[in-house]
Every structure is written in structure tokens, then in C-alpha cells.
């Protein structure tokens, strides 16, 4: 009897100590955190002696630049940068829209051309013409006539295919959107739904750009008849259903990024001799991402400096191997794997952001009725 009482006593003691320790550390952490986030500085120009300003850079979850990439910025300006993650690109824009004028951060990274119009209409940003503007991609700049945001990277959403699958069966891989409807490629395509996936949406827009508003739904009907598989997310499409990646699925044709083949090479171990996947260049839709100063930030000048840095060579050259996108700064150098394994289509498909904003809901409804039901 006494043995079990002792056991109980010690158990309670240990439990209590552990609890106390965790609470203590939590409180300690909590107080420093609250301090830093309610840090209010009024100085708009900073000298080495004043309290350091920390800018909050709001970005989507998959924003993964190199570890100390902002050190140089901090060194040059004395301003620290803290990254805050806010979900996927769509969520980011919605959250920013409803908090417009009273933002949760200072700079937003991650508005893309499909939600650009929505973001601008919601007056999320404070316009700024970056000092690097002459070096930035022209087509991208044309989308933002008033410099509400600055383009920071571009990418392509394209049809990717499993090279070995087609080689083994001695079938020529599909090269165009139209080809996907042919019986040769029946039951081979997997696509993420445009409703829940950003590359999925880009692909749908590609088909609208290619076949026009009157022809694109007929195209999808044909795809459907040809055994198209639609899944919820890109993750599932690429990593579960696609045969060319780690999931070893059944489908050798998938909608993914122009940078997926180099990614496969870089992450593969051991390194294969040739790229296991390739891109059908004629099916690509150009995606452009932008960053901008959030309207209502208390550190407008510093935020603008950050935009300059984000569009500057140092940061831009970090992008290909971390975010697997192309720098918007035309003077930035590309890494070897990118040059070797990825294809940059000359004339990718594109749609006007204003048109997208207007017609998007209708297009998605059409898609739902044509393909999903």
C-alpha cells in the first residue's frame, strides 16, 4: 500500500515540475515576443543608436528563401526582417483585403497575376516605384501600370511528363494542349482542380488563353471523355498520382511547374543521368508574382527599401534554388541546373489580369459544371 502511495507521490511531483518548467519557459518567451511585436518606433529615419526596426514580411507558406538572405539588407540599412507566414497565396490576399489600411505586416510577397486585380481593387498596397525598375521583366511590369506592386519572380505552369514512361513504351510524349485530347493519351493526365489549387487555376487559364472563351469548355469536355483525373491539390497530383515523382503513381502526365524537372534533378538521390521529367513548352502559362508595400504600414520608407532589396540582384539570384522560380530581374544570373534542365518558353500563354478578375467566378462555375459534375 505504501509503495503505491510513494509511486503516486513521485508521479505527481514529476508531473508538477515538468508543468512548472514549461509554463515558466512559456512566460519568458511570451514576454519577449509581446515586446517585439508591439514594438512601436516613431523614428522614420534610423541611426545606429535608435531602437532597431523590424519589418514584417508577409508571405505564403512555401516562401523559403535561404537562411540568412536578409543579413545583407540588415547590414546596409539597420532594419531587421521577420518573415510571417499566412497560408497559401489566395488566403494571403483575402486576409490582406479585409485588413486593408491596417495591415498585419509591412510588405506582402506573393500576389500573383491571377489575384492581382482583386488585390489592387481592395487597395491593399501603397504604390512605390522601385529603384531597380529598369532591370525588371517588361511584360511583368506592364501588368502594373501604376506600380502598386513590383514583380519579383516569374514561373510557368506547364504540362510535365514522365520521360522514362514514354520512352519505355516508345510513345511520343504530348507537346501541345490539343494533343492531350487524343486517344493516344487516354487516361494518362492528372490535373489539380482550379478551384482549390493555384497551378490548377493557371492551367485552366492556359486553356482559356489557347482556345478562347467560346472554345475552352468544349476542350475540357474532350479531356474528360479522354479519362482526365482531377484531384484537389497539386501536392496530390504531383506526389501521389504522377508516375515521374516519388509517389510512383499511374499517370505520366501532370500539371506542374516549369521548374519541376530541375527540382527533380536537384532533390533526387542518387542523381540520375538524365532528367526524369520534362516540360511541354507549348502548354505553359506564365505566372508572375509580385511584392508590395502594404498600405497603412508604420514603416513606409523602410518597407520601400525592402522592396528594392527584394528586386535586387542578391535576393533575386537566391530565388531559383529556393523557390524554384525565375527572377524578375533580368540581370540576375541563373544556376547551372536551371540552365541545363529547364525550358523557358518564349511565348507562354497569358491573360489580362483585369479580365481574370472579372470572369474568374463565371469560369470556375463553368469548370465545375463541365468537368466536376
Amino acid at each position: 500500500m505504501s509503495a503505491s502511495i510513494n509511486k503516486k507521490y513521485f508521479k505527481n511531483l514529476i508531473l508538477g515540475t515538468v508543468l512548472l518548467a514549461v509554463i515558466a519557459s512559456a512566460c519568458a518567451k511570451g514576454s519577449t515576443k509581446i515586446d517585439s511585436s508591439t514594438d512601436q518606433t516613431q523614428a522614420s529615419s534610423q541611426s545606429e543608436n535608435s531602437d532597431p526596426i523590424t519589418l514584417t514580411l508577409l508571405a505564403y507558406d512555401s516562401f523559403t528563401p535561404s537562411e540568412n538572405i536578409f543579413d545583407e539588407f540588415t547590414l546596409a540599412t539597420g532594419v531587421k526582417v521577420e518573415i510571417a507566414l499566412g497560408g497559401d497565396a489566395g488566403e494571403l490576399v483575402t486576409k490582406a483585403s479585409i485588413t486593408a489600411g491596417n495591415p498585419q505586416g509591412d510588405v506582402l510577397w506573393g500576389v500573383d497575376n491571377t489575384s492581382l486585380s482583386r488585390a489592387i481593387d481592395a487597395k491593399i498596397f501603397s504604390a512605390y516605384k522601385t529603384k531597380n525598375i529598369d532591370e525588371l521583366d517588361e511584360t511583368a511590369l506592364n501588368m502594373v501600370a501604376q506600380n502598386e506592386v513590383s514583380p519579383v519572380d516569374t514561373g510557368d505552369v506547364c504540362i510535365n511528363y514522365d520521360v522514362r514512361w514514354f520512352a519505355d513504351r516508345k510513345i511520343a510524349p504530348p507537346l501541345t494542349l490539343r494533343a492531350l485530347t487524343s486517344a493516344n493519351y487516354a487516361n494518362l493526365l492528372v490535373v489539380p482542380s482550379p478551384i482549390s489549387s493555384s497551378p490548377g487555376l493557371a492551367f485552366m487559364l492556359a486553356t482559356i488563353a489557347e482556345f478562347g472563351e467560346s472554345g475552352w469548355s468544349a476542350y475540357w469536355e474532350q479531356l474528360k471523355r479522354n479519362g482526365l483525373l482531377v484531384v484537389s491539390g497539386w501536392n496530390e497530383a504531383y506526389y501521389t498520382e504522377f508516375s515521374g515523382s516519388s509517389g510512383k503513381g499511374d499517370r505520366p502526365i501532370v500539371v506542374s511547374y516549369g521548374s519541376s524537372p530541375p527540382a527533380e534533378m536537384i532533390y533526387a538521390s542518387p542523381k540520375p543521368d538524365t532528367a526524369p521529367t520534362a516540360v511541354a513548352a507549348l502548354t505553359c502559362y506564365r505566372q508572375v508574382e509580385f511584392a508590395g508595400v502594404l498600405r497603412g504600414t508604420k514603416h513606409e520608407r523602410e518597407a520601400q527599401l525592402l522592396i528594392d532589396y527584394l528586386t535586387g540582384i542578391k535576393f533575386q539570384e537566391d530565388l531559383p534554388l529556393t523557390l524554384f522560380v525565375y527572377p524578375a530581374n533580368t540581370k540576375a544570373k541563373l544556376p547551372a541546373e536551371f540552365l541545363k534542365y529547364s525550358l523557358r518558353p518564349e511565348l507562354p500563354l497569358q491573360l489580362d489580369p483585369k479580365l481574370i478578375a472579372e470572369r474568374r467566378t463565371a469560369w470556375l462555375d463553368t469548370f465545375t459544371n463541365t468537368v466536376l459534375r
Binding site: L19, V22, I23, S25, A26, K29, G30, K33, I34, S37, T38, T56, L58, D61, S62, T64, E82, A84, L85, G86, G87, G90, E91, T94, K95, S97, I98, N102, Q104, S115, R118, A122, P192, S193, I195, S196, V230, V231, S232, G233, W234, N235, E236, Y238, Y239, T240, S245, S246, D250, S260, A263, Y267, A268, S269, F324, T361, L364, D365, L372, R373
Partner: protein, 519 residues
């Protein structure tokens, strides 16, 4: 109304009411007022809306029915028979309920034949997976309150075992079947992760539609209207069933009988073995898949990920964050849940509204809550949105309804005679509460605390709307990693998921172990 605590309800109610008003009602009203736009009401009549509502309704109903059917044989086995691994089985089947969907979701797909990959069937099967353990526990514990002598009497009067079940057992389980059923229905009706991951792009429930409208289309107003619709449906259901659920439980005594006997016929042995092994494998298979994906990279076994898990600073930080939040959630939500439950039971009918109030976070969709939070707590000097505190607050909000519902029945069923006795022995109200009420409901408090812990560790809904800086929790990290390319990163996500699974298993084990010790 419990006269011993006549005036305490007033004070006890203050904390839960203030908490709910500040963090649920105010934000919800706020987002409604700011974003709601009357043109959006048109959405209610749209064809898509009607089919979405219909789908949500019928998949929830079917899921509930199937879950209950699946759970009853298992409850029969655990409530009536003693066999090797009985307690382990009960713990095991409780694990899925507290597992976050993001952990298991994709792994689940491996076990379903491709033909039902994106179908309602996949959703229903997943709902069974996540919910059957809960139903089994509720029914099994009620079953154990049926005096085994009743069974014996029925048999001497000629009833076969089947007849006994149908004419004696089932009627006596009616109430708990109803409340378990309601709980499962609510979970299935508002379920989000399961529908997104397993239903495929064509299946949409009200909850996923709300998310889609707000986040992908930017139509916050439309999303809010749908959210009101959901609130109405769910609210009505809760009201209806709690009204009818108050029939006397005088039928069943408060004691737990020892119904547990060794199986006597070979038929029983076969029944027990098959039920136990099927339910155990059902639970384990997806979990094994998660573990497997953490060590299988490019078709080869590779433990390097696990090594990096324990040395990676970022992951360690997330782990610490998750633990800190869990401790906070335990303390705050158990306290608020306790106060809320006590206020309702000790007080007059006036305090019944607290039932609905504490259930609000379940009823209000995660999107509404999340968006409401970020626009409400943004006014200086309370710009808390980035503050460290918001996320554990979100966790608490999600945990409170569950905690309240675990604690309530034990307070309600506490025989009042014990309180009377303590008063005649000289105890003050506070002493009485401490030595009688708190002491007797301690097992339930511990269970509730453990469940709150699990909820916090796995919380992914409302807290994903808050902006995260340096305070990412494990499930958020998993979701983020799963969305990124690279086998190694994917494997890392699964490794972290495995950690969460282990944590959930340990928690359930602790809860059950402590629970049975008390008896």
C-alpha cells in the same frame, strides 16, 4: 438546480461568458458587420448552394449511421468481455479522434481502392475512421452501467442473446446513442479536412465552400452567408436534441457494474477476436503508412530524416511552441470548461444558454472565426494579431466545447446526497466543492485536460488563419512542408506527423491509465 451552490452559478458563469463573448461572438459579429453585403444573399438560392447543402446533409447522416453501426459491436465486446489487450484496444481506437486530419489524410488514400478515391464513400469511410472510437467509448461506458443481472433475468425469461440486445440493451442505451450520434453528426457536418483531402475537387460541403468562397474567390460576404446558414442548421440541431435528451437517467444507476467476464462460448471468442482485430487494424494501417513514408525515400529505407528531426532547430522550435501552447490550452480551457459546466448544472434553467455558448466555436465555422479574429484584435493598443497569445487563444476556443461536454455528465450525475453529507459534517461551500465535487470529477477533469492537450497539439483550423511569425506549431509545419516539393521535405513532414501520432497515443494511454486507476 443544486441548492448547495445556490449563488455560485452567477460567479462561475462570468469567466466562460466573457471569454466566449470576447473571442467568439465579438469577432464573428465584427466580420459580419464589416464584410456582409446584402446582395450576397442571392447565394442562398443558387443551384450550387443547394446541392452543396444537400450533400453536406446526407453525407453527415450516412456517416453517422454507419459509424454507430460500426461502433456497436466493438462496444459490445469492450463492455462485456475480458480479454487480453482489452484496455489497449480501448485506448487504440480513441487515437483517431484526436489525430489531426492533415496527419492522416493523405496516408489514408493509400488504403482505398482507386475507384473510390474521390467519392462520397471515401469521405464516409474516413469519417468512420476518425469518429468510431468516440462512439464506442460513449456507448461502452453507458453499457457498463446496465446491471448484468438485468441481462440474466431476461435470459431466464427465455430471451436469446440477440433478443436480449434488442429488447433490453438497446432501449437502455437509447440516450447515449442519441448524444453520440449527434456529436458525430456535428463533426461530419462541419468536417473540412476529410472532405478536402478525400472527396476530391467535385465534393464540396458547406465548410469547404465557405473556405473556397472566402479564400479563392475573395467573396468574403458570400462565405459569411453560408456560414450563417451552417450556424442555423447546427444550432437548431443542438437545441432540439438537448431538449429531448433531458429525459430521466434515473433508469440507470450511477455505478459502473462489473459486466466484464471471460468469454464462455467459442462463438463469443470468435466474435471478440474478429471485432478486436478488425478495429485494431483499421486504426493502425493508416498510421503505419505515415511512419513508412517518413523512412522510405525513393523506394529505399532511409533514417536520415529522423536524425535531422531531432537536430533541426526549426523543428525543435515548433515542438516547443506546440508544447507551450498545449500547456496553456490545458489550463485555460479546462478552467473555462469546468466553470461553464458547473454554472449550468448548479444553476437554474436560466443558465442553460451556456450550453450553446460554450458550443459556439464548433458551430461557427473556422473561417468565420479566423477572419473575425484578425479584424477584431487589430485596434491599437490591442494589436494582438501577431502576438504570441492569439494562437493559444484559438486553440482554447476549439477545445472548450469538448472539455465542457466531457466534464458535464460527471457533475450532473454526482449524487447530491454526498454534498448534503459533507455540509452536515461542517464543510463550507468552497470546501465542499473542493473535497466532493472536484475530487469526484477528477478523472473526468484529467480526461478533459488530456483531450484539450491533444486538440491543441493537432489544431489546424482556426489557428491557420493567424499570421505566424516564429510561432509555428507542428500541424501547421506539417501542412506547410507537405505543400512543398522534394522527397526529403515530404519525408520530414511525415516524420513530424509520426511524432504527433506518438504524442496522441501517449496522451490517450495516460488518460486511460489514470482513469482506471481511480476506480
Amino acid at each position: 438546480m443544486i441548492t448547495s451552490y445556490q449563488s455560485t452559478s452567477k460567479w462561475l458563469a462570468v469567466v466562460p461568458v466573457v471569454a466566449m463573448l470576447t473571442f467568439v461572438v465579438a469577432p464573428a459579429l465584427n466580420i459580419f458587420i464589416i464584410s456582409l453585403n446584402f446582395d450576397s444573399f442571392a447565394i442562398l438560392t443558387a443551384q450550387t448552394t443547394r446541392s452543396v447543402v444537400w450533400f453536406t446533409m446526407w453525407q453527415a447522416i450516412i456517416s453517422t449511421i454507419v459509424v454507430v453501426f460500426f461502433a456497436i459491436p466493438i462496444a459490445a465486446v469492450t463492455a462485456n468481455f475480458d480479454f487480453f489487450g482489452r484496455r489497449a484496444l480501448i485506448s487504440l481506437i480513441s487515437v483517431p479522434f484526436i489525430l489531426p486530419t492533415v496527419v492522416v489524410g493523405v496516408a489514408f488514400l493509400e488504403f482505398l481502392p482507386t475507384s473510390i478515391h474521390q467519392s462520397a464513400s471515401a469521405i464516409i469511410i474516413a469519417h468512420i475512421y476518425f469518429n468510431f472510437g468516440l462512439v464506442v467509448r460513449i456507448i461502452s461506458s453507458r453499457w457498463q452501467q446496465i446491471n448484468p443481472d438485468l441481462d440474466d433475468v431476461a435470459r431466464t425469461l427465455g430471451a436469446s442473446r440477440t433478443r436480449l440486445f434488442l429488447t433490453v440493451t438497446l432501449p437502455l442505451l437509447k440516450n447515449s446513442l442519441r448524444s453520440a450520434g449527434l456529436l458525430v453528426f456535428l463533426m461530419c457536418f462541419t468536417s473540412y479536412g476529410v472532405v478536402r483531402i478525400l472527396g476530391g475537387p467535385a465534393r464540396s460541403t458547406i465548410e469547404t465552400e465557405i473556405y473556397f468562397r472566402a479564400m479563392q474567390l475573395g467573396d468574403v460576404s458570400g462565405a459569411l452567408i453560408l456560414s450563417i446558414l451552417q450556424l442555423v442548421v447546427v444550432g437548431v440541431l443542438i437545441l432540439l436534441t438537448t431538449q429531448f435528451g433531458t429525459t430521466k437517467s434515473a433508469e440507470l444507476s450511477q455505478m459502473v457494474f462489473s459486466r466484464i467476464r471471460k468469454p464462455q462460448t467459442s462463438g463469443q471468442i470468435i466474435f471478440i477476436t474478429s471485432v478486436a482485430s478488425i478495429s485494431a487494424s483499421v486504426v493502425i494501417m493508416p498510421l503505419v503508412s505515415v511512419v513508412r513514408r517518413s523512412i522510405l525515400i525513393g523506394q529505399k529505407i532511409n533514417f536520415s530524416i529522423w536524425h535531422s528531426i531531432f537536430t533541426d532547430e526549426e523543428i525543435f522550435k515548433s515542438l516547443m511552441t506546440s508544447l507551450e501552447y498545449a500547456v496553456l490550452t490545458i489550463i485555460v480551457s479546462t478552467t473555462i470548461g469546468l466553470f461553464g459546466a458547473c454554472a449550468v448544472i448548479y444553476g437554474s434553467a436560466r443558465y442553460r444558454f451556456l450550453n450553446l455558448l460554450t458550443a459556439l466555436p464548433v458551430v461557427v465555422s473556422a473561417v468565420t472565426l479566423g477572419l473575425g479574429l484578425i479584424i477584431t484584435f487589430d485596434v491599437n493598443p490591442i494589436d494582438w494579431r501577431g502576438a504570441w497569445l492569439m494562437m493559444p487563444i484559438a486553440h482554447c476556443l476549439v477545445a472548450i466545447p469538448i472539455v465542457t461536454r466531457i466534464i458535464s455528465p460527471t457533475i450532473r450525475d454526482l449524487p447530491n446526497g454526498l454534498r448534503d453529507a459533507s455540509q452536515t459534517l461542517g464543510a463550507t461551500t468552497w470546501q465542499m466543492w473542493r473535497t466532493i465535487d472536484l475530487r469526484i470529477i477528477k478523472p473526468a477533469l484529467v480526461s478533459a485536460a488530456a483531450i484539450a492537450c491533444a486538440v491543441s497539439l493537432g489544431e489546424f483550423g482556426a489557428s491557420s488563419f493567424l499570421v505566424r511569425r516564429n510561432n509555428e506549431t507542428l500541424p501547421l509545419m506539417i501542412s506547410r512542408l507537405l505543400g512543398r516539393p522534394g522527397e526529403i521535405i515530404q519525408a520530414q513532414a511525415y516524420a513530424i506527423a509520426t511524432l504527433l501520432i506518438v504524442a496522441c497515443v501517449v496522451i490517450i494511454g495516460v488518460v486511460d491509465h489514470l482513469g482506471t486507476e481511480k476506480h
